[in-house]
């Protein structure tokens, strides 16, 4: 489902270049759950961002669902692949209500039935419907993180890239989210890559895992 060959990613050029990722390869099967761990700064988020088309400075090969990927991705790509960012605050538009944040992808991809989808996505992450009318800054840290997960799920993608998706959640809510992922994996044939510094979470949730090391 996801094939990565000799992927290298760097920022800047010359003496100031940061080689964040050097020559990694991985082959992730359909419906597999793959863990990515490694110390802070080792390049985990950078890999996910490149897979998701948010970073153009990579070399190597990325093949997703049989399609070799170019630097830029088409809109339809995001119906297939969604990412939950490590920093939920930065990824949620500050001037849009939660309702609009969730309605937008539904409208862009012309899925219809927005109301039902929003209600369902919120309830799946344990938020009741009055949160629809809040803005991101009116939520707690863990509530924001769950909105970011809801937004990724609402398009029912086949592939999820999850960057520390439960780092702000207490054990009981974390367990709910992890159960949700397990269920989606079975019901919707989901494939996911999960980045987490919590080895208990990764070993519970992933079929295989890769460990990254800092290059500098």
């Amino acid at each position: 489902m996801i094939r990565i060959e000799d992927l290298s990613i760097s920022f800047g050029t010359g003496r100031n270049a940061v080689h964040a990722v050097r020559g990694i390869s991985a082959n992730i099967a359909a419906n597999e759950s793959f863990g990515l761990v490694g110390e802070s700064g080792s390049g985990k988020s950078t890999v996910l961002r490149a897979l998701c088309g948010l970073n153009a400075n990579w070399t190597g090969r990325i093949v997703i669902a049989g399609q070799p990927q170019a630097r830029r991705r088409q809109r339809s790509f995001y119906k297939l692949v969604q990412m939950v960012f490590q920093d939920p605050y930065a990824s949620l538009h500050p001037r849009r209500t939660i309702n609009n944040i969730l309605a937008e992808p539904v409208a862009i991809h012309k899925l219809g039935d927005a109301d039902r989808r929003i209600e369902q996505a919120l309830s799946e992450v344990g938020l009741d419907s009055h949160f629809r009318f809040r803005y991101p800054h009116q939520l707690s840290g863990g509530q924001r993180q769950r909105v970011a997960i809801a937004r990724a799920l609402i398009l029912e993608p086949k592939i999820l890239l999850l960057d520390e998706p439960t780092s702000a959640l207490d054990v009981s809510i974390q367990a709910e989210i992890l159960n949700l992922l397990r269920r989606l994996k079975m019901q919707r044939d989901l494939t996911y890559i999960l980045v987490s510094h919590d080895l208990a979470v990764v070993s519970n949730m992933c079929d295989r895992l890769a460990v990254m090391k800092s290059t500098s």
């Binding site: 802070s40 207490d170 208990a200």
Partner: protein
Amino acid sequence: MASPRLTIRNLSVEFPTRVGLMQAVRGLDLTVGREKVGIVGESGSGKSMTARAILRLIPPPGRVTADELSFDGIDILRASQRQMRSIRGQRISMVMQDPKFSLNPVLTVGRQIAEAYQVHHERALTMLEAVRIRDPERVYAAYPHEVSGGMGQRIMIAMMLVPEPDLLIADEPTSALDVTVQLQVLAILDDLVTQRGMGLIFISHDLGLVASFCDRVVIMYGGQVMEVCDAGDLRSAKHPYTRGLLQCLPDIDRGGV
């Protein structure tokens, strides 16, 4: 414990919303001396709002009331803006839950440290090293969007420690860090409490971490304090909510590696 530095009695934080009044904190009592006080509780239980209220950082239209909210004899609710500015950052520091969001996106990490605290290049580098940043020179010259999640968190911690505060409020300060780095950061905080007599409020959703690191633990639920106990007595906590949290712990341990 010497007389408390921070005293909170009957603190409430409320937000009017279109579906009625949201009571984020309801009648909270808390004292903090030269010790490590942990606050745990589920997502949305009012931990961050309690922290922000102490520094009078509740955004409008939020309303804060208390019978007492005082720090070293200063009445926080009635202090002037000027007094608050000198308290914030100098005497009470806070590491916010969204570290990168609280950094200025258009200034390099180094300039932010230098400008905020008038410290020199050398000192700033030493601080970055202390929180185990591998290549401090590069990070000094980097913009916030150029550092990783865990690096951002450590930069914030380093910055908050520069002014050597009397009280540090750390809101989920290690949530992006792996165990090794987490322990190193906790050791730094512990030193400041035991050697310099700093007070620490440590907010976390991780009961296990708080129980092993803090002296006392405050358990919040729905904006209220459910229970306060010495960390050592946590296993015999009585409140059903605390018991529920405790029961979750071995599950995680068992899944561990």
